[in-house]
Amino acid sequence: MIDKIEKLLKSLESSSIEELEIEIDDLKVKAKYYRQKPTETLIVEKISETPVQQTAIQKNIPEQNKIASENIHIVKSPIVGTFYRAPSPGTEPFVKEGDFVENGQTLCIIEALKVMNEIESDAPGRIVKILVKDGQPVEFDQPLFEIEKV
């Protein structure tokens, strides 16, 4: 078994895995690789980053790092489509800022290919901010809601 572990560890040498944990029967292995981090100094960062373009869609994405504080959970879009706050035009929105939501509660609809996809909250808490506007196109992984965990 150890031989197999050895083979596995070596084979991951040039991967980007940083930490690995394996438990199999009674064997438990934890490994941590040294990965050269590209963020060494400010200068390197500036050099190595292509400025990300401001597109119509990206423009409205707040900087994730800024808001990702300890208590704030971000609900992101799992698909590309159009964001709607209410089940149909003219009806009440699913949620408003300040509302408390349960895990699994519907937060919005994203329409993709004429299908209305209900997006559910993946954490309970209070809606602090709704990051996109009704009818706005959203891309994959785009932050939609800030939820304060309570």
């Binding site: 292509t50 119509a56 993709a112």
Partner: protein, 451 residues
């Protein structure tokens, strides 16, 4: 004219398409996966939409996400590039069902030409030479019978897939049936269909292909041939135009055959007709690629025609009534991959710490890399195409050597640049003595061992 084109691809071909769209005054939207957030196409396009995770099935092969992105961006056409969904008739179908023009031929054409057996039949009906061989067969015995009829050696090939899987060379009758059975099992495992066909094996053939552009009004333009014989594991490594082997007489015949089949199937857009050519200049249709190809720039360099622009023009329904362009000078494309050629061309994705791109007269670089770019490990290893043009083949080779010598890529990666430098010094290459096996049989060993 299209107002906005969505590019359903990544890497250098996405950059390539953005460039022509800009020149034509068409807006561009690129889709991208989370792994390509900092990629050059995302930076260069007018608009970019993240559509899914890194793995291709979640992003570049994710048809619903791509269509949804096209809808929210308001694109009126989709360019599929090469690879990914470019030869997927279902995708073309869905695009059109959603009112988005798919820049490529009809899905019916893609279905037919995507099936080797059907494509052979079509070629035969169009009256162009094909490699003597069978229809798709299921039973090993029947395949053996065909093999005997056309004579050994023969090639057994999967009828519903490519890439060399389910492919077997059978030298003679001895043990032939078992080998055919094995090929069928492989094909079944790889493509879900065990049918194969049996072909006469053309010894040491050249792989020569003809570029065509057809509009929706029946005009077919032939834009010269490409010599693509230098291959490793059926992957092209270097292409050139014109072929050093094709003379005026053969060119006329290849042009005529290419035009025949293109017209016969009422093809639309950019397409490539691949031929095997034996040492006596007999040629045989093998397949048609219904998309733009990696190596299209060599054709652009010798014809002066922008193939992506013509492809878009064709999709827009415009008349393309130009005559077949003359071939001017000689062009060579070197595919630069992040691979360690000394270790069996193992991919080496990583970060580019330092980059100098070659430039100057007669040098073109099509690439998506830049200094500081991290090559993600999820996609293919092509990082740049270096294309050189010269007054003749000899000058093009010298220019290629010069350009390769000033192409520096540093970081925790290896590229095939040193491999190409050695390839250009090889006698077989310099003399143009090429066939589809020469690289693996005669050149590779010498290069790797640094003789």
């Amino acid at each position: 004219m299209f107002k906005k084109v969505l590019i359903a691809n990544r890497g250098e071909i996405a950059v390539r398409i953005i460039r022509t769209c800009k020149e034509l005054g068409i807006k561009t939207t690129v889709i991208y996966s989370t792994a390509d957030k900092n990629s050059l196409p995302v930076f260069l396009a007018d608009e970019s939409i993240c559509i899914g995770e890194a793995k291709p099935s979640a992003s570049y092969l994710n048809i619903p996400a791509i269509i949804s992105a096209a809808e929210i961006s308001g694109a009126d056409a989709i360019h599929p590039g090469y690879g990914f969904l470019s030869e997927n008739p279902g995708f073309a179908e869905v695009c059109r069902a959603c009112g988005i023009e798919f820049i490529g031929p009809s899905s019916e054409t893609m279905v037919v030409m995507g099936d080797k057996a059907q494509a052979r039949n079509i070629a035969q009906k169009a009256g162009i030479p094909i490699v003597p061989g069978s229809d798709a067969v299921k039973e090993p015995k029947k395949a053996l019978q065909f093999a005997k009829e056309i004579g050994f050696p023969v090639l057994v090939k999967a009828a519903h897939g490519g890439g060399g899987r389910g492919m077997r060379v059978i030298e003679n009758e001895k043990g032939a049936e078992e080998l055919i059975g094995m090929a069928m099992a492989e094909a079944e495992a790889a493509f879900g269909n065990g049918e194969v066909y049996v072909e006469k094996l053309i010894l040491n053939p050249r792989h020569i292909e003809i570029q065509v552009i057809a509009d929706k009004h029946g005009n077919v333009i032939v834009l010269g041939e490409r010599e693509c014989s230098l291959q490793r594991r059926h992957q092209k490594v270097l292409e050139e135009s014109p072929s050093p082997f094709v003379d005026k007489n053969l060119r006329i015949k290849l042009y005529e055959s290419a035009r025949k089949i293109t017209s016969f199937i009422k093809y639309e857009g950019a397409g490539t007709i691949e031929f095997l050519v034996d040492k006596d200049k007999n040629y045989y249709f093998i397949e048609m690629n219904t998309r733009i190809q990696v190596e299209h720039p060599v054709t652009e360099m010798v014809t002066g025609k922008d193939l992506i622009a013509l492809q878009i023009k064709s999709a827009e329904g415009e008349q393309i009534n130009i005559s077949d362009p003359d071939l001017n000078g000689h062009a060579i494309e070197f595919r630069i991959n992040v691979e360690d050629y000394k270790k069996n061309f193992r991919p080496t994705p990583g970060k580019i710490e330092k980059l100098l791109l070659p430039g100057g007269f007669g040098v073109r670089v099509d690439t998506h890399i830049y200094e500081g770019y991290s090559i993600p490990p999820y996609y293919d290893s092509l990082i740049a195409k270096l294309i050189v043009h010269g007054e003749n083949r000899e000058k093009a080779i010298k220019r290629g050597q010069r350009a390769l010598s000033e192409f520096f890529v540093e970081g925790n990666i290896k590229t095939t640049i040193p491999f190409h430098i050695k390839l250009t010094e090889d006698d077989n290459f310099i003399k143009g003595n090429l066939d589809t096996k020469v690289l693996e049989d005669k050149i590779l060993d010498r290069i790797v061992k640094n003789k």
